[in-house]
């Protein structure tokens, strides 16, 4: 089998180290002036693609991001890590707020077909909405097999051997290519982009597209009713003795006499 053409999704999300603040009108969270970075699971996807290319298992890595103009920074980072070219599907403002996994999967599926890719690697979820849907939906739209929550991926003569992280432990599966893989945390440790590659990335091709170029209607299918802070954790109490502890538990109705 010849080397694979790989498509990697790179979502721009609020940096995981930022303390997220909910807007007072409960329509969402503050994003203006907030540090953003590449979704950590997408970084892992990126790293996996680069490792395939280094082993000559992949021939080209195309990176794609859907969202506002700043997504191009995320794409440049992906190119600096080792991507070959980038596609930015620009979606701004209100439209972006309503952009959902369903739309993104349609766009990704279209790109996968247009670019004739053999493998689509996505993060298992984005750390902002925690949807964990895009990979699965894309596979469904393309009617490709899916290998989700991958913690090990091996290419084996036209198919993939994937070790999946599941509730009970680990699962070994084999899927035929073309396929969609979503990455779990332990798949690899992403590299740092080196200075020479950061410089080179600036000159790599980046194409800007619109959802309409792929004939995808991005009118929202869901309505966000409200976004709220998690409940504040109540302070603990100190007790002086076991008797007091038992009494407290009893008062709270957590144990019966």
């Amino acid at each position: 089998m010849s080397a694979l053409r790989v498509l990697v999704g790179c979502k721009r999300v609020i940096d995981y180290a930022v303390r997220v603040r909910v807007k007072p009108d409960k329509t969402g969270v503050f994003t203006d002036g907030v540090k953003h970075s590449m979704n950590p699971f997408d970084e892992i996807a990126m790293e996996e693609a680069i490792r395939m290319k280094e082993k000559k298992l992949a021939s080209e890595i195309i990176v794609v991001s859907c969202g506002p103009i700043q997504c191009q920074e995320t794409l440049r980072t992906a190119l600096a890590m080792g991507g070959d070219r980038a596609i930015h599907v620009q979606v701004d403002g209100k439209e972006y707020e309503g952009l959902q996994p369903f739309h993104v999967s349609k766009i990704l599926a279209k790109i996968a077909q247009e670019e004739k890719v053999d493998l689509l690697i996505l993060g298992k979820q984005a750390i902002d909405d925690d949807c964990n849907q895009t990979g699965q939906m894309t596979a469904a739209i393309l009617d490709w097999p899916q290998a989700t929550f991958a913690s090990k991926v091996e290419i084996d003569n036209g198919s993939l051997k994937v070790l999946r992280e599941i509730d009970g432990g680990l699962e070994n599966i084999k899927v035929k290519l073309p396929a969609v893989v979503t990455t779990d945390l332990r798949l690899n440790e992403p590299r740092y982009a080196t200075l020479p590659n950061i410089m080179k990335a600036k000159k790599k091709p980046l194409t800007t597209k619109k959802p309409s170029d792929y004939a995808v209607d991005i009118s929202p299918r869901q309505e966000v009713l409200s976004v709220e802070d998690p409940p504040v954790r109540e302070a603990g109490q100190k007790v002086e003795s076991v008797e007091q502890l038992v009494q407290k538990l009893r008062d709270a109705g957590l144990i019966v006499s």
């Binding site: 995981y16 590449m38 298992k124 509730d167 945390l185 740092y192 982009a193």
Partner: protein
């Protein structure tokens, strides 16, 4: 993996990879008892102080009513008696935990009358044995003095108690768009009072200057119990002697700091970090010079590490080198108000560095998580060194041209008798951290290092302690960096402010003879 719970736990697991910048101070609480200081240093003589008796304990309990404020439990005392480096251990029998200035005053008044020696203690993260007792001094801990009193959102002046943990202050300030003017590896444990008493330096000194400039006021309790209120929060105040300066860096020998007014800079909107590899130390200096030229006002840190340091990070802490292997590494941080401007400057700088081949390779971190990961390579050095066994820690100021020669010279001088000799530090401030490790403490090695290293530093007109202070371990070498007349004046001041010498005895300055 489809239920909600695993999703939550996955997010919670992320920080594992981007391990955080806070030095973990409690990892080494092993059973191994550290040799008592009075045994390791047999020539030491206990001063003419009273012994703590049962009546004292009950009096302390009267002065500090409530649970857990007078600690006498042997197991609990151990942590207070032993320094973080596991190099000094005292045998104090009591820890006092006041909450207010009045309580500190009452305690010192009592101890002074009784001639009980006292050691003030903050987060106990000091590196020269200054924060633990030498013999059986009473420990006064600032642990419970952790209230933030006020923040003026216009001027950025923060007033707080001495026991506030540095990282907590910084995260409090973050919500108000300010930041602490100092930052150091021990931030998760160290108390601001201890930072002030030792005039801590750290990685932001290059940008915001020393604490002598950023501290506007202090409230201090003298040995007699008298409260000295210099808690001014004015930028300008030329009325009489600037007494607060005396306490900054006095290492608890002149008084106990109870409150501070700190001038806090605006939190920068944009922070970028570059981690670079260099072929020689001279190149490091060239890059430093160029960075001042090209990054100027946004340069907020310039740190270096040698290959031996990186080895510690990789072997002892199992962390990854962000770039390829090089003899020297540089960490540059920029902080500014406009991310795009900063990035443009940094990019231009880095392009120049690469094209002139001053730098061979490197990486840039703009994501917060990456920035933290890169910083942790530098900030967890002290922790990594501890894994070797015993760490002989030196912190010297040297003219930049002689900066790294000391490390090379020590390597030749000690040869294979030691596990390693590593050099890292704040190039921007001319401050080298030289660390030598061995599997266990050895008198012979110590004799090979000291006074050799101090003579070397004095010969090159450096300072034998740039930011760690003198504490217990280095006080006898003060003359390498200070004249006789200066030390004499220090002794006179000490005598005046603490006539009975109860405050942090055996430390910082030699006794007047």
């Amino acid at each position: 993996m489809n239920s909600i719970m695993p999703l939550l736990s996955q997010s919670a697991r992320l920080p594992l990879r981007f391990s955080c910048r806070i030095r973990h101070f409690h990892i080494q609480q092993k059973k191994l008892a550290v040799e008592l200081t009075r045994i390791r240093y047999p020539n030491l003589k206990r001063g003419p102080y009273a012994n703590v008796c049962d009546a004292d304990i009950s009096n302390f309990e009267k002065l500090l009513p409530g649970h857990g404020r007078v600690i006498t439990d042997v197991n609990e005392l151990d942590g207070f008696n032993t320094d973080w480096l596991k190099t000094c251990r005292g045998s104090s029998q009591v820890v006092l935990r006041p909450k207010t200035t009045e309580e500190v005053s009452a305690l010192l008044c009592y101890c002074n009358d009784r001639r009980l020696a006292v050691v003030p203690q903050g987060g106990n993260t000091g590196l020269v044995g200054g924060s633990v007792p030498v013999f059986d001094e009473v420990i006064i801990s600032t642990q419970l003095m952790n209230n933030i009193i006020s923040l003026d959102e216009v001027s950025g002046i923060l007033v707080c108690q001495a026991g506030c943990i540095l990282a907590n202050l910084d995260s409090y300030l973050k919500d108000h768009k300010f930041t602490m003017p100092l930052d150091l590896g021990a931030k998760g444990s160290c108390h601001i009072g201890g930072n002030l008493a030792t005039n801590a330096g750290g990685v932001r000194l290059l940008r915001y200057g020393s604490l002598h400039g950023t501290i506007l006021g202090l409230e201090v309790v003298q040995a007699s119990g008298v409260v000295v209120d210099c808690l001014s929060s004015l930028r300008k105040d030329n009325t009489g002697y600037d007494l607060k300066q005396l306490f900054i860096g006095s290492e608890g020998t002149l008084g106990i700091i109870t409150k501070a007014a700190i001038l806090c800079p605006q939190k920068p909107n944009a922070v970028n970090v570059a981690f670079l590899g260099c072929d020689s130390f001279n190149r490091v200096l060239d890059v430093f010079q160029k960075s001042k030229h090209m990054l100027g006002e946004i340069l907020s840190a310039f740190e270096f590490m040698d290959a031996a340091s990186m080895d510690v990070i990789q072997k002892n802490l199992k962390m990854h080198n962000p770039i390829a292997d090089f003899p020297f590494y540089i960490l540059i941080e920029t902080s500014g108000s406009n991310g795009n401007h900063d990035e443009e400057k940094l990019n231009k700088f880095l392009e120049t560095m690469l094209s002139t081949q001053l730098v061979n390779d490197g990486t840039v971190a703009t994501d917060m998580s990456k920035i933290e990961a890169v910083w942790s390579v530098r900030e967890r050095m002290a922790e990594g060194l501890m894994h070797d066994g015993y760490c002989y820690k030196y912190d010297v100021s040297l003219p930049l041209l002689k900066f790294y020669s000391l490390v090379e010279d020590m390597r030749r001088h000690l040869g294979s008798r030691v596990t390693r000799v590593v050099g890292y530090g704040h190039v921007g401030d001319g401050n080298l951290h030289l660390n030598i490790t061995t599997p266990a403490y050895s008198h012979e090695i110590m004799d090979l290092i000291e006074p050799y290293i101090y003579d070397w530093v004095a010969r090159h007109h450096g300072s034998i302690s740039a930011e760690h202070g003198l504490g217990f371990k280095k006080k006898q070498f003060i003359y390498h960096s200070k004249t006789k007349s200066a030390v004499k004046l220090m002794q006179a001041i000490k005598k005046l402010m603490d006539p009975n010498g109860i405050l942090n005895p055996y430390k910082t300055i030699p006794d007047a003879s």
